[in-house]
């Protein structure tokens, strides 16, 4: 595949399968009572758009292994609902101000209602998974639910690790600590689970699903580091979140971990003092100073190269996983996705 064709294929596939997922998502987001304090709010984040990366990867993997599009669409819908549930709760936990270019749900409606909306989105995700029964049968439906339980467990464990770092003001973290956290918090629900359930639906067999751990880990970790880079360098309108928001929140990104390791003792003490305080107590000039130190110590370039290395490993693992499958558009999409995660703006 030519270098120019790859991004086009990714965008076209995201548009097609994303549209398919959105259409089915409507079944679960119909207006009903109580609207004002629940269901109108439940539909808010899903209606704000998003790239639909996770549902598309799920459908494409299922098709690469021989399934029809409709076989995977309820699972893709569940993924999107669970993703939005995580986002609502994440925004509360991170005290974030913006999500997809608009104020966060808790900023608009308060924390209690937002937390309840996150719970409702989780339950709707479970409903979508149970709705697989008629099309996929009881055995496959149950296996997908078991996989969903593991994914959710891994994700909350990863979230607990990251929240604990912030609460305890951890400043002696390594890249290995970061990768272990990202494996659980991001990779499981962004890339590992969509690949595993896609293969489960396509092959109708749960044999060797662990083969997808390595591919999903490397792809998801590269994706997360690039996402963190975009938080510092991205175009605000396209990124949809507050630029430098991660620095304001004291999020332990690769860039911050690198800076903490490279900083002089004086800089390190100043960083530790910044990180121990809550977001509301941070000043704009402090955030600017941290950004300047990241540039001065090469933390941005370090993270960029780390993302490239991990994406290279993802490409290798892709070759091992998919070499035996016929050359289909869905297989080519998964291949092209690896480089796309680094090139997206």
């Amino acid at each position: 595949m030519s270098a120019a064709a790859a991004p086009n294929l990714v965008v076209a596939t995201l548009t097609e399968y994303g549209g398919l997922t959105r259409a089915a998502l409507g079944d679960y987001l119909q207006p009903r009572e109580p609207r004002r304090h629940l269901y109108d709010l439940v539909a808010d984040y899903p209606s704000r758009g998003g790239r639909m990366l996770r549902p598309t990867l799920c459908i494409a993997t299922a098709r690469a292994f021989g399934a029809g599009r409709e076989d995977a669409v309820r699972t893709a819908v569940a993924l999107e609902l669970l993703h939005n549930a995580f986002l609502v709760h994440d925004d509360v936990e991170d005290e974030s101000d913006e999500r997809r270019g608009r104020p966060t749900l808790h900023a608009l409606h308060g924390v209690p209602l937002a937390v309840n909306v996150g719970d409702a989105l989780t339950l709707l995700g479970l409903r979508a998974l149970m709705d697989n029964r008629l099309r996929l049968g009881p055995w496959l439906t149950m296996r997908i639910l078991e996989e969903a339980e593991r994914m959710a467990r891994e994700t909350v464990e990863g979230q607990a690790v990251e929240l604990g770092w912030r609460r305890d003001n951890a400043t002696e973290l390594t890249e290995a600590d970061y990768l272990q956290m990202v494996l659980k918090k991001t990779c499981w629900y962004t890339t590992i689970w969509p690949s595993r359930v896609g293969a489960l639906i396509g092959t109708r067999s749960d044999r060797d699903l662990d083969r997808f751990l390595r591919f999903g880990f490397f792809l998801g970790a590269a994706f997360q580091i690039q996402d963190d880079l975009l938080n510092l360098l991205g175009d605000r309108a396209r990124y949809g979140k507050e630029i430098d928001g991660d620095v304001w929140e004291g999020k332990r990104t690769v860039m911050l971990i690198h800076l903490l390791g490279a900083a002089s003792p004086e800089e390190h003490a100043r960083l530790a003092d910044f990180l121990v305080r809550p977001r509301a107590a941070h000043e704009a000039n402090e955030v600017q100073w941290i950004r300047e130190r990241m540039d001065a110590h090469g933390s941005i370039e370090y993270a960029r190269q780390m993302a490239h290395g991990l994406a290279g490993a993802a490409l290798h693992e892709y070759g091992l996983l998919y070499a035996g499958l016929p050359d289909t558009r869905d297989k080519r999409f998964i291949d092209a996705l690896v480089t796309w995660v680094l090139e997206r703006a």
Binding site: F65, G66, G68, R69, E70, R133, L134, R135, L136, G137, P138, W139, L140, E172, T174, E175, A176, L179, Q180, L183, G202, T203, R204, S205, R207, D208, D210, R211, L213, R214, F217, F218, A221, G261, P265, H268, A269, Y302, Q305, M306, H308, G309, L310, G312, A313, H316, L320, A323, G324, L325, P326, D327
Partner: protein, 230 residues
């Protein structure tokens, strides 16, 4: 702050995987130092995670086979059979509901690359079966192996009567060689003949491959061979 805990230097002489050869460059080549160390570190993290998972799985699977266990298994089997009956009844109700409402069990989408709807899938019970469903495929397996081997063939209903070919069977561990001596042939009366030869030096493990339609390349199933130790 000289007492700060610092990351110990990474051991660069014994990488876990020979990743460097994957990118067309040997150790000490032009690869960027951060890139190479990230890949190595990534493999360490994920391999350790997988090992931890395997240890947990082994703990759960460490079961005895005394009289209490057998009794428990029989009780569990009874409960499972009752559950399957309940699942089947639920599916039957779904089926009746759909038929009564004049709908179809599976909508065929023209957008599905022209693929025809599968009348039934393994494990989905009678509810998905239609009068047009092809007859089950009779399979004969011939395997040559010096060691114990277990074959698992999972074919879609559409595979019946189609010319099939199996890709080389790959192990999860990329270091293990493929099992290439695999042939699928049409036998008398529509029978499918699967011939597998496991080389004497093939390492123990599970080898998997996809079965595809020889004319359209559409995947129609999977073939797995588990080779045991001597």
């Amino acid at each position: 702050m000289s007492d700060r805990i610092r990351r110990p230097p990474l051991d660069r002489t014994e990488p876990i995987r020979a990743w460097s050869a994957l990118f067309g460059s040997g150790p000490g080549g032009s690869l960027n130092d951060v890139v190479s160390r990230s890949v190595e570190l990534g493999y360490r993290v994920i391999d350790e995670y997988i090992r931890q998972g395997q240890r947990v799985a082994e703990r759960f699977n460490d079961r005895s086979y005394g009289p209490e266990t057998v009794t428990g298994d029989i009780q569990e089997l009874g409960a499972r059979m009752a559950q399957y009956a309940s699942d089947f009844f639920g599916l039957w109700l779904d089926f009746v509901q759909v038929v009564m409402s004049g709908g179809t069990l599976r909508e065929t989408s023209a957008a599905e690359d022209g693929a025809r709807a599968r009348p039934a899938a393994p494990g989905n019970g009678a509810a998905r079966r239609t009068p047009e469903a092809p007859a089950p495929t009779r399979v004969r397996i011939e395997i040559v192996s010096h060691r114990p081997a277990e074959v698992s063939l999972d074919l879609r209903p559409e595979a019946a009567g189609r010319p099939l070919v199996a890709q080389g069977l790959r192990a999860v561990d990329p270091a293990k060689p493929k099992l290439d001596d695999v042939a699928l042939e049409a036998g008398p009366g529509g029978e499918l003949l699967v011939r597998i030869r496991v080389p004497g030096d093939a390492p123990p493990g599970t080898y998997n491959g996809v079965v595809v339609d020889a004319e359209t390349s559409r995947p129609l199933g999977t073939l797995s061979v588990r080779v045991g130790a001597v």
